[in-house]
Amino acid sequence: MKPFAYAHPGDVAEAVRDVAAEPNAVFLAGGTNLVDHLRLGVARPDLVVDVRTLTSREITDLDDGGLRLGAASTNSEVAADRRVRERYPVLAQALLAGATGQLRNMATTGGNPLQRTRCPYFQDVTTPCNKRQPGTGCSAVGGYTRYHAILGTPGALPDPTAPETCIATHPSDMAVALTALDAQVHTLGPAGVRTVPFVDLHRLPGDDPSKDTVLEHGELITAIDLPPLPAGARSAYRKVRDRASYAFALVSVAAVVHDGDVRIALGGVAHKPWRATRAEEILRGGPLTDHAVRAAMDAELAVAQPQPGVEGGNGFKIPLAARTVAATVRTLTEEQS
C-alpha cells in the first residue's frame, strides 16, 4: 500500500480545509470501501482526513415532519431507527438488503452514497479503466457485463478505447431509496455550505467517468434530509440478486405510492441511481394496474442499451427491471386497498 499521511482534525471546517489544500487527499469515514481500495491500489492518496467522529451521528426530527440523518450515523443505526422503520420503510429495507451486519455497523450515511462501483475491472489495477485511470479505455465492454449498466450508457456497443466509455453501475442500495424519497444532501465545501437534491448528487459518465458525483474536491456531506411523505403514502424496496444475502443488486427498485401517483427509482441499471421519471409521468393519477405499470416501464426502458458480454451479457435486466417494478408497486397497492 502506498504510504499516506493521516489527519484527524478538530472539526469539519478544518477537515474541509485540509482536503481542499491537498489535491491528492481524501475523506475517511467508515472506511469499508476506501480501506479496501487503499489495499488494492485503486485509491492512492497522499493524505487521508478522518471525519468519522466529526460530523453528527444523530437522527433528528425536522420541523416539517421529515428526518435529518447526520453523516456519521451508521447504516445499522438508520435501519433500526423506529421513525425510519415506520415512516420510510423503503430506506430501512434498502439498508438491510445491503452488505452485512458488520459492514452496516461501520458504513455511514455520508459514506454509503459515495462508495465506488464494484465493476471488477475498476477494482483490478492491471486492467484499463477510464474511471480509475482516465483515458486508458474500458475493459468491461464486451467482457463480464452482468452487473453493468443498461441505461445512460454511451451506446449499444460503446467504443472500449474511447476515453469517455464507462458502463459501470452505482452499487448502493441506500442511494436508490434516497433517490425515490427526494432526499436532500447538505454539504460543507471550500465555497461554503450548499444543499444538493439527492437525485442530482450522482452523475452519468458523460465525458469524465472518473467523477461519480457533482461534489467538488474537499466538499463533505454533513447530513441527509428525508422530506416527509404525504399521509397514507406507502414505500418499499425490492432487490434481485444472485444470492439470497450479501450480494450486489442485479436490479433493485425503490417505490413510493400515494393516491395513484408513484415514484420509482432503479438500482443496478445505470452509473447512478435511476429515477424512472418517464414511467412516473405516464402513471401520474393512476390507475396503478399491473398492465399500466408494465407499459410505463416499457416506455422508460425503450432507450435501454443491453450490453453484450460473456455469459450472455446483461439484456436480461430489461424485462427484469420492468417486472420488478410491477411486482413492487403491486405489493404497495394491494396493501392500500
Binding site: 500500500m1 504510504p3 499516506f4 499521511a5 493521516y6 484527524h8 475517511l28 472506511g31 469499508t32 480501506v35 479496501d36 487503499l38 489495499r39 488494492l40 487521508v48 478522518d50 468519522r52 445499522s76 435501519a79 433500526a80 423506529r82 422503520r85 415506520e86 420503510p89 430501512a92 429495507q93 438491510l96 438488503a97 452488505a99 452485512t100 451486519g101 458488520q102 459492514l103 455497523n105 461501520m106 439470497a244 444475502s245 450479501y246
Partner: protein
C-alpha cells in the same frame, strides 16, 4: 508514516506505534500477539477478522488502526469470564459448530454481536414486520450471520448454535 495509539484489547490497555497503513487486524495479530481474529480475504468479504469494536461487531481488516485510537476491542480470545466460556463459545462446542476452526473466532464475535442486535430489537432483511420485534428464527440467524463464511460449510450447526445461545 507512524502514529502513536492506545487500544483497550480484551480488557488490557495497550500502547503502540503503527504505520498509518496498518489495519486493526494486523495491529492485533502482528503487533499485539493476539492471533484470535483471522485474516481470511483481507477485503471485508469473509468475516474471519470480526471483532467487537466499541461494543459492535465490525471487520478489523477494513479498519485503519490509527483511526481507532482509544477504541475498546473484544476478540474471541477475550470473551471468557473467570475461566468460564462465553455462552456462544459453549454453544459452538456443544453443537459441533465448526470443522477446521479458522473462521470460528470471527463467527463467535459476530454471533455475540447478533445476539446484542436481537436484544436491541434491530430488524434484518428477512424480518416480515419492520415495526415489530424480530424473532430468533433459523432464517433470521442465517441472514444476520451471512457475513461470516465457513468454507467447511458448518452452517448446519453454526445456525442452531447461535439460535441456542440467543435463547431461542
Amino acid at each position: 508514516m507512524d502514529a502513536d495509539i492506545t487500544l483497550r484489547v480484551d480488557g488490557e490497555t495497550r500502547r503502540l506505534t503503527v504505520d498509518t497503513r496498518t489495519s486493526l487486524l494486523d495491529a492485533l495479530r502482528e503487533r499485539l500477539g493476539n492471533p484470535s481474529p483471522k485474516k481470511g480475504c483481507d477485503h471485508g468479504q469473509c468475516g474471519a477478522c470480526t471483532i467487537l469494536l466499541d461494543g459492535q461487531r465490525a471487520l478489523s481488516c477494513l479498519a485503519l488502526a490509527v483511526a481507532y485510537d482509544g477504541a475498546e476491542i473484544t476478540t474471541a480470545d477475550g470473551l471468557a469470564r473467570d475461566g468460564e466460556l462465553h455462552p456462544v463459545q459453549r454453544a459452538f462446542l456443544e453443537r459441533d459448530a465448526f470443522q477446521c476452526g479458522y473462521c470460528t473466532p470471527g463467527q463467535i464475535c459476530s454471533a455475540v454481536g447478533v445476539i446484542d442486535e436481537f436484544e436491541k430489537g434491530w430488524p434484518s432483511h428477512v424480518t416480515e414486520d419492520l415495526t415489530g420485534e424480530p424473532e430468533i428464527t433459523h432464517d433470521e440467524v442465517a441472514e444476520r450471520m451471512s457475513g461470516n463464511l465457513c468454507r467447511c460449510a458448518a452452517y448446519v450447526n453454526i445456525t442452531p448454535a447461535v439460535q441456542e445461545a440467543a435463547g431461542a
